[in-house]
Every structure is written in C-alpha cells, then in structure tokens.
Assembly symmetry: C2
Homo-oligomer: 402 residues x 2
C-alpha cells in the first residue's frame, strides 16, 4: 500500500529524540514495525500471549508469528491482514504516532505492568502506545492522576469529578481517564476548563470516536491533550478491551481516584490495577443512599482506599512523603475560634459597652431565646462576657477592637 520511502518517514516520525531517561538506545525501525504488528495481531492483555511469550522481545515474537512457527496457530487468524507500515501510515494521516520504549515520549512508569501482569497472569506492558494530539506524552504524565467512575453517574458524581479534575488541572496535574460518558467525560471537561490538560485512554483506535456522543469532547482533547490507545487505528472497542485499557490508566498515573461506582463496576477494576501497580487508590465518598457510591464506600471500607474529599487530599496521597500534607484546623488558635456558630453569633450580638438583656441579644443574633440563654451562660463561663445592670456586655478583655 505505501511505498518504501514513505514507510521510512513514518517509522522515524516519533523517534527524533536521542534517548529516553532510561538511556535506552533509539529504537530500531524493525522494533517499531514489529511492535506495531503485534499491537494489531495480539489482543490487549491476552493471558495466553503473556504466558507463551513471557521472556521474548517483541522482535522475536513477531518473527515467530510472521514465519508461522508451529504451535502458534492461535495467533494466525489475524496474520493475513497485518500491515504495520499501513497502520503507521493510517495513524499518520489521522494525526497520530506510535510511541514505543526508547522514544522520548515513552512513559517508563508504564513498565510496572510487566511485573504486575505476571502476578495477575494477564495484562503486561503494551507493545507501544498509539498517541493522537500535540503534547509530549511522557511530560504530561509526569504529574498525573486517574479520575474514573461510573457511566451512569449521578449529577453529584459528575460535579465532584469535574471539580476535582479542574482543581488538579490548575495545580499542574494532568487528568487521565477513559473515554466513556459519565464520570470519565466530566473529568475531562473539568480538566479542559482548568489551566491543566487531560488524556483519554481508549479501548479502540485513537481515530475512532466511541462513544459517538463524546465526539466533540474527543475533538477538544486532541486540541489540548492526548488520545492514547494500545490498539492500532480502526480497532473497535470490546468489553475485554475496556478491561485491558483500565490497566494503562492505572499504570501511567501516580494514583487513581474513583468518583462513583456501583458495586460491580469497571472503575473498581481500574482501582485493582492501581493497587497491583503499587499506586495509591482514592475514593470519593457520597450519600449512603446512592447506589453509585456503594463501590467507593466499599473501596474505603474493605480495601483501605484513601478518602478523597478535596484536591488537597489527592495531592497529599500521590506526592512524595510530606510534600502536600493536608492541614485540618484541629486546634483553635483563640478561645473565640473554638466557638460554634450559635456561640459566635451570640457573642457578636453582645454589646461592647451598654449591657443588653438576653431578649434583645436574641433579636440581634437572629436566634431563639433558649439558644441564646445557653450561649450567654457558656460565654460568661469563658470570661468573654459579663453580667452588669440586668444585662450582658463584653468582658474587659473582649472590648479591644478586633
């Protein structure tokens, strides 16, 4: 389909940097073609592949499959249609590139999946990532959080996802999620509305707008962030591909936040992978009356997930020790700080100089008389007010200007 010059051009498209942080050699064209071919032939995260080819390099695996080595008939059905050069060309015309280990853009942290995959007996590090959009994948992922959750989310969950994603975005943290409607879409929208950016990891080719209702969202993501998939252009999503995709979301980020999830939910699968990768799992609590929060409460209760109520909670969990410690106002700084709402309002209603009866103070405070009576007694015990001439006024220490 493509002539040999064009192939060479495409092949080097993504390898123009001298080396990665791991100081790997620039990947060879053969390696890139082999990996592109494998991404077409082998189903993402396929357990049988993982088992059969555990110790082989992609070039060796592709050589075995390409030459139809005996015993590998399982993989032969798709071989006839494979054209890595064609896929690279197709990606190129869709504005996409194929990023592999050794490329400047390759996010090394994803290779945690090699060991995690062996433990889980499925998954593994993908052969490469098809990437569509302008920014550098590795750079965007340096500070990144996965925000995932139910498709059939509540408006509470949608708001929480967008708020948290926006806050993290403003903090320079990239959001990573799937491409589904519900929590995924809300997280992307929140990030796009912030100064940060977002990455959608898809269970289909990066040229396939699935679900179609998110097509304009994908368009916006390509404009500012990235679409990523381990599947070559043109591939359709399947249930198994969604599950395999979840591991990429978990492995590329510093932690996963589940916003809403029913008890049986794909988001819990992403949380599993995050745990398997040694990354923190956070869960957003919600009303106990909402089925959509059952999964997040389960994560907190049974799986020791961290409670995520704010951007600060999330930053604290994903940051190196002590860098983003959330501070709660445990101890009041002054006696007045310790006052609750009613006491505060009552105190504010007590005159500085001319003593006032409790009925008038209640009127000023806008509280009922019983409450104010109790508050006045407490304030007097704390020496904040005094009783003089049938009325209350501030005690001498309180008469200073604030």
């Amino acid at each position: 389909m493509t002539n040999s010059d064009q192939q060479t051009d495409l092949v080097v498209a993504s390898s123009n940097a001298p080396s990665t942080a791991l100081d790997r050699p620039v990947p060879s064209d053969e390696d890139r073609l082999a990996r592109a071919a494998l991404s077409r032939v082998i189903e993402p995260g396929d357990p049988a592949t993982l088992k059969t080819f555990a110790d082989l390099e992609p070039l060796e695996i592709w050589e075995l499959l390409r030459t139809k080595a005996p015993g590998l008939e399982r993989w032969s059905s798709r071989l006839a249609k494979v054209s890595p050069e064609g896929d690279l060309a197709r990606a190129h015309s869709a504005g996409a590139r194929f990023v592999i280990p050794g490329d400047d853009e390759w996010p090394d942290q994803i290779e945690v999946l090699t060991e995690a995959g062996q433990q889980a007996r499925r998954g593994g590090t993908p052969y490469g990532l098809w990437v569509r959009g302008t920014p550098n994948l590795r750079t965007l992922l340096k500070s990144s959080v996965a925000i995932v959750g139910a498709r059939a989310c509540s408006s509470y969950g949608e708001n929480a996802a967008a708020e948290l994603a926006g806050g993290l975005g403003d903090h320079g943290t990239t959001i990573v999620s799937g491409g589904a409607y519900g929590i995924d879409a809300a997280a992307h929208r929140g990030a796009l509305a912030s100064t940060g950016t977002t990455i959608a990891v898809l269970a289909c080719g990066v040229d396939i707008p699935y679900p179609r209702s998110n097509e304009s969202l994908f368009h916006r993501i390509v404009g500012e962030g990235l679409l990523v998939s381990e599947l070559p252009p043109g591939c359709s999503p399947t249930k198994l591909r969604f599950l395999a995709r979840n591991r990429l979301i978990a492995a590329t980020t510093q932690g996963t936040v589940v916003v809403e999830a029913a008890i049986r939910s794909g988001a819990l699968n992403t949380a599993n992978w995050s745990e398997q990768c040694g990354r923190p799992v956070l869960a957003v609590p919600g009303p106990i009356t909402s089925r959509m929060s059952e999964g997040t409460h389960l994560l907190i209760r049974e799986r020791n997930a961290t409670v995520a109520t704010s951007v600060a909670d999330i930053l604290e969990a994903i940051s190196p020790l002590g860098e983003h410690l959330t501070s709660y106002p445990h101890t009041p700084a002054t006696p007045e700080d310790a006052l609750d709402h009613d006491l505060r309002r009552t105190l504010d209603a007590v005159p500085v100089l001319r003593p006032s009866p409790s009925t008038r103070i209640a009127n000023v405070a806008g509280l009922d008389h019983d409450t104010v009576q109790e508050c006045l007694e407490t304030l007097a015990q704390a020496n904040l007010i005094t009783y003089e001439d049938s009325g209350w006024r501030l005690s001498p220490t309180q008469r200073r200007a604030p």
Copy 2:
C-alpha cells in the same frame, strides 16, 4: 424539707434487686446519699476533682467536703445548698430514680471511664445516673449504639440518622444519643418509629426539657425509653456539661456512629471518648460538597473510623468477631450475573429463535444503537448469543428457560 420516712423510702427505691452482675453488695443508703450529694456539688468530669480525689470512695470524698476539710475550699461554694434527700425526693416526684454502682440497673460498662478518665485527666465514672422512664437501664444498654451528630444537620443527615436508628431498633439494638435537635432528635425519632427503643443522655436534669423544642420528643422518650443524666434534677445545661455528657454516651454503648459533623463539632468529642473507651467509632460518609460531612470524612481519613453505610456495617463493627459479617457480592455467580445494565438489557432483547438485526434489538432494549452494537459483540464473545442469517439470537446454551 422531706421527713425521715420519706427519705428512707426514696433511698431504697432503686435498690430492690439483690445484686448486680459484678456481684457487688447492695449499696448502702449512706453511699447513695453521698453520691447524690457529690452529683450536686461536683461539676461533671471536673479535672481538679479527678486529680484530688482519685483514690477515694464517694463516701470518703463526701465526708471530707461535708466537714469542710482544709484545702478543699474550691468545692465549698455549693455546699450550703446541697440536700441529697431533697434531690432524691425531687427526682421521685419527677418520675426519676438515682442509679448507682451495685444497683440492678447500673451499667457496669460505664466504669471504663475510670481508667479513660485518668488517661484523659478529665471525665471519670459518674457518681451515679439520674434515670427517668420505665425500662431497666442496664438491660436496654446490653445491645446499644450511640448515634450522634450535628445540630445544624442537613436533611440527608437527618434521614440517614433516622434510617440507621430505625434499622438498628428493629434489630433489638437500643439507640443512645443526646437531646439536641438535628441528628440526635432524628436518631431518637427513628428508634421510636421502630420496634426498638432509645435513651437520651442529657447535659441537664432529667426533669428539664432542653432544648424546649424537643419537649414533646422527651415526653415520648420517657414513655418508651429513658432520659439519663449525671446531673441532679433542676440543673441547667452548659457547654462544659455537654462535653462531659458526651463521655457517658460513648461509655455506655458498644460503639458510636457519627452521622454528620462539621470539623469542629461536639460529635467528634463523643467519637474521641468512644476511642478512649476502646469502643469502635463509625462515621457515615456523605457528599464531599457538604460541610456537615467534613467531620465524618475526617474521622474516616485521619482517625481510622469505620465507614457506616448501613445497619449491617454497624452491627458488624459492634458485634463479637464474625457474628454479623457484612457480605458484599464480590463475585458474580453466573456469567449473566456479571453483566452490567446495558448488557443485561441487550441480552434480554435478543430473540431466542428467529435472529433479529441489531437495529431492532436496540429498539427492544430501549438503548442507542452504538451501545447495543458494543453489547452484542461482548455477548457474542462470551458465547451468550450467536450471529446467524444477518441477525442475532441466543446461543444454544442460553435457549433454556430461565
């Protein structure tokens, strides 16, 4: 005020059982009068008292105070007004009794406060409990849970408190709470609406309806459950008495559930006491947008409180190991069980015999065509449906009647 016959009558009113579970002797009249006097003279949970009289019996303490022993002037101001006989009479006419260690009704578990008080340097076991209502205090508390929370709660919190209290009540668990409006009142109402009952522990005398807006609620509680206080009749509530009261709620129950609480909240003080007493602390999660859930999320996140989403969660936490284990549907029993909503609906829409095109299946399922396409592919991969004659039908294994 009262003649000597009446006194004796009142004194023995609550000690008609031979002995308690601890096989203590029936308390003497002197002991009861001394304890009643101390409950009038000494401010609940007063740190100075705890320190000064740590190793003395109530009779000894009362003797020192009554005889105005030197160095104890701190306690002398209230001495003139003390009349334990008068307080017992006043209680009697208010339908109340004074329960002390050795009485049949005395809840032994409250004595955890002796050690907890020494550790906290405040608190301690109360000298006795003024009790108003018909049931036996010890019996009611045998299976009991504290449900506490904010006064200025949200309607979400109010509903959660009432639902959980009602469910626990139907399970034979007594609810214990304060007398405040908000979560406290909702918990009592929930319990009263169930087959169970409820106890309000007050920071004032059991004859004082505070807050007045809860007067009819207290009336209902006296009819079916109990009002309890360590303060003698006629005492008014103060801030310090509320804080001291919280330790009684924590110590008499098998665990404390905080439903809603702002960051600075009395309910968190009750949770502290529960922890101090070695009882489980549970917290009900809520929307992260609600200030009223900040305290409960703090408890879960920072203080390792157990997430309480249901009656089952609470029963599991307060029960002896393994008795009320909550079971979550972790693993689906059949392949169909694993299907999410869309897949289930799509599968239900696939005809048994005559193959149907995807457009018609989408119509039947009431789902959009893209979703149904994806679902059909997944169902086919799972061998639940097959493609024949340009349409889909159930696979042979699925054609059996359900």
